[in-house]
Subunit: 375 residues, 2 copies
Amino acid sequence: MRSTDDRIRITYQLTLREGETPDAKAREVALEQTVELPDGCYPPQIEERIVGRVESLEQSAAREWKAIISYHPELVGAEVPQLLNLLFGMISMKLGILITGVDLPRSVLRTFPGPQFGIEGVRSASGVVGRPLLCSSAKPVGLSPAELAEICGALARGGIDIVKDDHGVTDQTCARFRERVERCSEAVANVNVQTGSRTLYFPNITAPVSQVQDRVEIARAAGCRGVLISPFLMGLDAVRWLAESADLILFSHPTLAGTFFHSRHGVAPEVLLGTILRILGSDGVLYVNAGGRFPVTEAECMAIHANLRRPIDGVRTAFPVPGGGVDVERVPHWIERYGVDTVFLIGSSLYAQSDLERASRDLLASVERHCSTEA
Amino acid sequence: MRSTDDRIRITYQLTLREGETPDAKAREVALEQTVELPDGCYPPQIEERIVGRVESLEQSAAREWKAIISYHPELVGAEVPQLLNLLFGMISMKLGILITGVDLPRSVLRTFPGPQFGIEGVRSASGVVGRPLLCSSAKPVGLSPAELAEICGALARGGIDIVKDDHGVTDQTCARFRERVERCSEAVANVNVQTGSRTLYFPNITAPVSQVQDRVEIARAAGCRGVLISPFLMGLDAVRWLAESADLILFSHPTLAGTFFHSRHGVAPEVLLGTILRILGSDGVLYVNAGGRFPVTEAECMAIHANLRRPIDGVRTAFPVPGGGVDVERVPHWIERYGVDTVFLIGSSLYAQSDLERASRDLLASVERHCSTEA
């Protein structure tokens, strides 16, 4: 994760097409992502300081090469848009270039806030120790604030630790942001008072640039400790901005991120969701789990976890939040695979049962039973 | 482009995998992009109002079907992040779903500003009639403000109509934003005074959310009439926001957009760059041209032009700006193909010549010669 000298190191899997050579393709990336000019059409001092440096190049399969290219951190400065640009800007429009690793030097890492709460801070806010956290969404879009609040209450009474808005629920006329957040927050707070539980409610503050600050303030005034955002809809700098300014737990939703995930071209999920979203400041990162309704492998999930939870100097760890078709019956299996430092996001398989509160309570009981047997 | 009833219509090319049926796949899209719940796990009134409606479904090739699904505009509201979410949010993580068309009803179109200047406004600012405009970039990143200003001056003296920053040049320590913009703008203004020309200088204001407004103000104070932004680095709502608030010509750069462009999964370039960037407020849209250093076909370019320049009620047309390896020698050919309402962005093939001013002057002369022969 951390580069030892003061350079950014990016690892690429290059797939060669007819007529391409590995050296030329690696050099093409190094030029396209920096000077955007052909070899030599720039002053000589630029070559040394600015053009990417091909550090290593080795064959990994037929037509497939692993390249490591290093870059001067000045290219990024402290700007998230330029980090994205350096990672995959113009080469996104080429073919056969997959980013499989990013190592940032301390000089770059320290310009981004990282998680403000991290796994420890989220556990502390929820009061849950020794087991994974359970999360569910109030849905679908189209319900009224009263209807959504009723769902939030049922999930809280059932013992769900984090009740969040669905990521498609924002400020629609059927449920305007302020009224919805106030009602849902109140419904959860009432359950907490009645039962002594500590369920958190995270509203979705994904919004046009000019309205994000208002929604943060409404969420805080309603007593929310955290929020949901969709960085790929808002721009990834929103994570950095909110981590620096909002004093709220940030859970990042992956909607639209699939544009990056192709087998031979793009940015690998563990880099984009595991490394990048964490260093920018996500306390939890949602992703679509294997075995659900999306074509994802368990190995990809494990790689995301590794990058969210591995030690990085001065950067807190972040919760992996698998969702997208996690079945209640299979949660004990996933605890075995993923460990207790996981937030399980369960939606459809709770909603498929007629009584949401009871379904939630059964789920929590099975998780507690599993974790106490384990311990 | 405009939907006749008040619904959003999205056209998909669905590629079926083993075991998939067209009806089930279309219904899956309609559910995933709205309620995110399996059939029936939501109140019945939601089915009618919220779930996407499969309007038509027809086979277009072996294993390939064309589906049109319509959606209630309430899902988007007036929010760009939700427009993106509805277009390609969660389905981005599935396979074999390509968006080939988007029709927005007037109720949605009127919530977005559209181009504030458009083709007419940009022509009027530059004073160019009867021929395409010529654009070039001051580059590469790594040069000092004085060096970049010298390049801007040379391009302006050579008669380039729009001199812009390279999209990788932002606020690096080697050329901080304010000093660079002031110097480059002054260099171009001086040439305009000396020669009576009207070259425009567009600085790149792509920046972290919290700094965009400052950069707009610096650019305006320096006398700039327009700016360059990279919507895919900043979040697409930046286009809407700046079109509504900045009173500057907006040229949108495609860096990172290639994540959407895959042959059987994604959002087609003519939809993303042609339709979406235009309706949000771009006055010019840069894209990588066929025959350059990116794998793009001429048909894709023509489709982008068609969507930028076709009549849409109440939405100005926007300039197509082909770049990414347009050779000076081939410009007359591209004028034939693309017509005069085009801005040609020429970089490498000017820089490959030793005298940038002379290379620019030769280019302008060949364009003027070509267009006067035509007329």
